[in-house]
């Protein structure tokens, strides 16, 4: 009987250690994925500044949009949390979309080699950012499932781990694009 109890305790201890380590790994994966987003956002910030610098030389009539972009960029860099930063980044994306449409009015700018390079890099960063968000959501899902599933939920509540929110696509981005509205604006 004594051996059985000792054996049971040993199994429980090993199981507890494995569960704890698994939760720690999953939490670390979330942090890694979060820093992945941060890295891409920082790269995007650097490119936006370069884009504004090049665009300024050609776009005399879009100074308001350019100023707004620089302002949002500064706000995003100073945001205290990733979620707040993402909100500002989304606004920044909207302003950039507006700017992209107005590039059509500046044929000289569109042929500028540096501008073309920045546009390409920006496009790739957007794709990388989308991948980083998907990685983050996958890591958060795995973490949240572990926190809610039995028996790891017992360990999670004991060490005070709490579920994390997923990145959700902006409502505006989910809507269908109204091409008519886009071309009349």
């Amino acid at each position: 009987m004594e051996t059985f109890i000792i054996g049971l305790i040993a199994v429980l201890v090993v199981f507890g250690i494995l569960t704890y380590n698994s939760l720690v790994h999953k939490k670390a994966n979330v942090s890694n994925a979060e820093s992945g987003i941060d890295v891409q956002l920082t790269k995007r910030q650097d490119l936006i500044i370069k884009l504004v610098e090049v665009a300024k030389q050609y776009m005399k009539f879009e100074s308001e949009t350019l100023t707004q972009i620089v302002k949002l960029r500064t706000q995003a860099m100073q945001a205290p949390s990733l979620n707040e930063r993402m909100q500002t980044e989304n606004q920044l994306s909207n302003e950039l979309s507006k700017l992209q449409i107005s590039f059509e009015n500046y044929p000289d700018l569109k042929t500028n080699t540096q501008f073309i390079e920045i546009q390409r890099a920006l496009h790739e960063i957007e794709e990388q950012l989308a991948a980083a968000r998907r990685t983050f959501n996958a890591a958060v899902t795995a973490y949240n499932v572990a926190l809610e599933a039995f028996p790891s939920s017992l360990m999670a509540s004991a060490i005070g781990y709490q579920t994390k929110p997923l990145f959700v696509a902006e409502e505006k981005k989910r809507e269908d694009v109204d091409m008519k509205k886009l071309f009349n604006s």
Partner: protein, 311 residues
């Protein structure tokens, strides 16, 4: 195909075959048969062991077989190395054919494109060229593995198919493979997960769980970088890969390695042998089919518009 070129190739093929016939006629069949028979008779007379006499008879038969078929093999080699490249160029001027392949066994092992063990690789009938501005390669691959030991030792073919590679101007940041998920389809998700987790514990490639349920059921994605794997395999890429397997067969494997995208496909051996000069049209139509297939693969996978394509 240009009729003049076809006519010229046809005449050359006739020449190759008449040379072959001439060579066959000159082979010393009679001398070899007589020497072989004499050795076997002497073996019996001096009561040599049955194995040795049998060996002498088999060696004679083998040599006669080689004497008869070696001119044919030589003719095929000449046809494939001189005539076939011209046929291939006539189908598409940018397309090149080579009898041998530069695709090596160590490269295949490095890509981890195929989730199976093998000892030997035979790669030949290689096509290279450009499609949708992308450099590609395509070749016939046969993989074998030696199983058992001692008298039970045998060579088993573990893969017969084709391998495509598409070269991109930029190196991928990760090594990512997409394997047909055999375990999951047989034993179900949870148990498959346990198997895969165990297999990965010794590998540098870690499982990437993607959000597409149908794709996850059919494939297993492994990568050295979770984020880069998702950059390479977007929801659109997943749809395209599923469309590819629906069209070209379920047994397909994909890999992003260094600056190349590889596809391995279970496929019958590519036969470009010309049995007779009158069968030239069959070979031409086979080359056209292969070129059509390469074009369709690029089209189905929309290779030119993928996120990893750096323009």
């Amino acid at each position: 195909m240009d009729p003049q070129l076809k006519d010229r190739i046809h005449r050359n093929c006739q020449k190759i075959f008449s040379d072959m016939d001439l060579k066959r006629k000159k082979q010393p069949y009679l001398i070899v048969t007589l020497i072989g028979a004499a050795l076997v008779i002497l073996g019996f007379k001096y009561r040599l062991s049955g194995d040795l006499v049998g060996g002498l008879a088999a060696a004679t038969a083998g040599y006669l077989y080689w004497l008869y078929f070696s001119p044919y093999w030589h003719a095929q080699k000449v046809f494939k190395s001189i005539m076939l490249p011209q046929i291939v160029r006539s189908v598409n001027p940018d397309l090149k054919y080579s009898l041998t392949s530069t695709f090596s066994k160590s490269l295949l092992s490095g890509t981890q494109l195929l989730p199976l063990g093998f000892d030997n690789m035979k790669a030949d009938d290689e096509f290279t060229g450009k499609i949708q501005h992308i450099q590609f390669g395509f070749r016939d691959i046969s993989l074998t593995e030696t199983k058992g030991s001692g008298k039970n030792k045998r060579t088993v073919q573990v893969f017969q198919g084709v391998i495509f590679d598409f070269t991109y101007p930029k190196k991928f940041s990760s090594h990512t493979v997409i394997h047909k998920d055999r375990v999951e389809s047989v034993v179900g998700g949870y148990v498959a997960g346990l198997f895969q987790d165990f297999a990965q514990s010794v590998s540098t490639l870690k499982r990437v769980q993607l959000e597409h349920p149908d794709f996850e059921k059919q494939f297993q994605v492994l990568s050295t970088d979770q984020q880069d794997a998702r950059f390479l395999i977007t929801p659109k890429t997943m749809e395209l890969i599923m469309a590819f397997t629906n069209e070209f067969g379920k047994d397909a494997h994909f890999c992003f390695y260094q600056n190349r995208f590889y596809i391995a496909l279970d496929f019958p051996a590519l036969h470009f042998d010309l049995k007779h000069p009158e069968n030239l049209d069959d070979v031409i139509s086979r080359v056209e089919q292969i070129w059509g297939m390469i074009q369709r693969v690029a089209e189905v996978l929309d290779l030119d518009n993928q996120s990893y394509k750096v323009v």
